[in-house]
Amino acid sequence: MNKRFPATALAAALALSLAACGSASSSTSNSGSGDSATIKIALIPPTTGALAQFGTDAVKGWQIAVDEVNAKGGIDGHKVELLKKGTDGDTATTLRVAKEAVAKEGAGFIGAVMTSPEHAALNAQLQGLGALSFNALGKDDALVGDQCAANAFHIVQTNSMDINALAGSIGSMPGNKWAIVAVDYATGHSAAKEFTSAAKAAGKQVVSTQFAPLNTTDFGSYITKVKSSGADAVFAVEYGADGIAFVKQANQFNLTKSLKTVLGFNMVSEPLFPALGASIQGFYNNVGYDVAGDNTLNKTFVSDYTKKYGSAPYYVPADNYVAAETLFAGIDKADSIDPEKVRDALDGLTFDSIVGSVTMRADDHQLLRPSYLGQVVKGDGGDAFKIVATAQPDKTTPQAESACSF
């Protein structure tokens, strides 16, 4: 009664004023794509946890591409602006940040989102947002399968593409009893499943399969289980800092010495070499990007990146750079910065990139590009990847998955 009244009145007043604040600040922004001449790209990398380093490097890839393009006066006269956001990896946060960037700041394009679950949720919203997403790290096959979206473009290779690339080499890797330790996400599960079939086809045996949640820091139980399974080779799908923890602890348990082969999947990459130490020499890992790739665009990219950031690029910034190349190629072809027109222009588009000539497949929006298998070898300036096998997209992804329909 009397005590409810002021509370009610106050609540109503507060709510209305907050809403007024909200709508007032938004009325100054426009919806972005049509009237503004700037191309706005929202980058939403992870800023915390095991993948934080990758988040920073993803942004670097975009930055180099944008600096290059702006130095030339923009694309068809449109300058490019990066809206650098961040997320803690919780999909709800990523979606909120994306919605805000699109609705309030006029971003027409989204990049640097990292994990497959975030992409799955984002894909579902893209139509409603009217924006395009460029996925340069979420490798789960479902993202070009039943979770595909017309507004989403898959720049990085999918897990099955990579596994198909290394399938042929499994037979020649020493070790017959394989243990799998993978991250407990859809990507980890699909990688494990595909590896198992490829290994069986090569005549190998899979004796143990385990999944560890992302941000696992204690791999003791997993390692002990691998040891007691009698495995002599390991297929490990652990990302970022989890990969570092896994490798270090495997050394501490003397597991590494007892294995004939360690095949990392998205685990071992150049920036982690110092942290991983000399024990990883001889490790195999899928390589999505060959830093020594012999084409002009790549050489320019590598030298610009090394000059600006002090170290050579690896697959994360490189794939994000390719994402930028894809977007710019689409804008160029469409002769417009309207997301819908860019989307249509990208279907079937072939263009030159730092990874060679690539094509954006219209059926599932997968970028067709080669995949590699590398081995860590001791080089002059430290450890480096030696490419031991290459596979072209006609082998790794001969056709789009039927589950994908726009």
Binding site: K3, A7, A19, G22, G86, A120, A124
Partner: protein
Amino acid sequence: MTATTLPEVSQSNAEVPAGRRSRRGLVFGLTVAVVVAAVGYAVPYVIKDTYTMSLAVEAALLGLLALGIGFLARHLGLISLGHTSFFGGAAYAVGVGVNHYGWSMTQSFAFGVLVGTALSLVMGVLVVRASGMGFLMLTLALSQALYQLCVQTSFRPLTGAYDGLLISFRPDDTFAGVNASDLQNPGLFWPIVWIVLIVCVVAVWLLGRSPFGTILEGVRENEERMRFSNYNTFRPRLAAFVLSGLVASLGGALFALNGAYVSPDILGFSRAGDSLIAAMVGGLGSLIGPLLGTGLYVWGEAHLNTGGNLHLYTGIALIVVLVFLPGGVTGTLQRIWRRLRKERPGMGGRR
């Protein structure tokens, strides 16, 4: 003042003793509800911006969660960290209904609310005999157990484990007259969640004024004496717990319909803490306190979260409220209001 709960909770109804709640108050309250409902309907026409509208929808959905927490705290003096499991459980159930069983949105919504309420029944049976810190720990433990179960690999086909559950609604399916893709548009979803919120607020308010509410107060103040007076204290407590769980489940089921995606984080420790803090900062002693607190929380999440600092502010807000401003925002305002009224000459003062 019971030593096992917060002081403002005990004081919340001290001003208006049970017998004096008049018909005038009832009519006044219902009129306010109708007016507020009507005003709320107009909100999407005032706020054209989708982003702000989505914040409003989020606040309303989480408001249902906070309303449940607040109801329990206000009438039984029990502070719960477990209500996110009903909210999240209902959301997951909606997803399971659509994805796994192929049901329509309306059927899945009903299923979601049912599952959430059933969870609250199960949890309630285990926890309502406890009070104070024991109750808090139990609700926390049980809700975290549910979270752990949800992310288990063995449940992956059902819940999506760590990836969360992407809900694929049939495009031609409708819920309350709105079709699947429009449900994700906050402006079009708003009327649904607003009506549900107002109805729940009124229902909770009426329950508080009813004889049931009086029994709950008696249990809160002195459980032993109630038992000696031949009242079965277990059943009213369980009923109150389940009702608060029902309200939270409504929020969760609607949340799933609107977002089409359920992440396991919704069942996690962090969210449970946030929902409680939001309700407390708003004020557990009043009906709308938790709603106000949730509004502040959503606003803070959107505007103060630069660099992920939201929890810094919620932590500070919690301590400030506990130490200096018991009763949260609404409690403090009520105190100021009362002091102002007392100072007016000729006002005969309340005791």
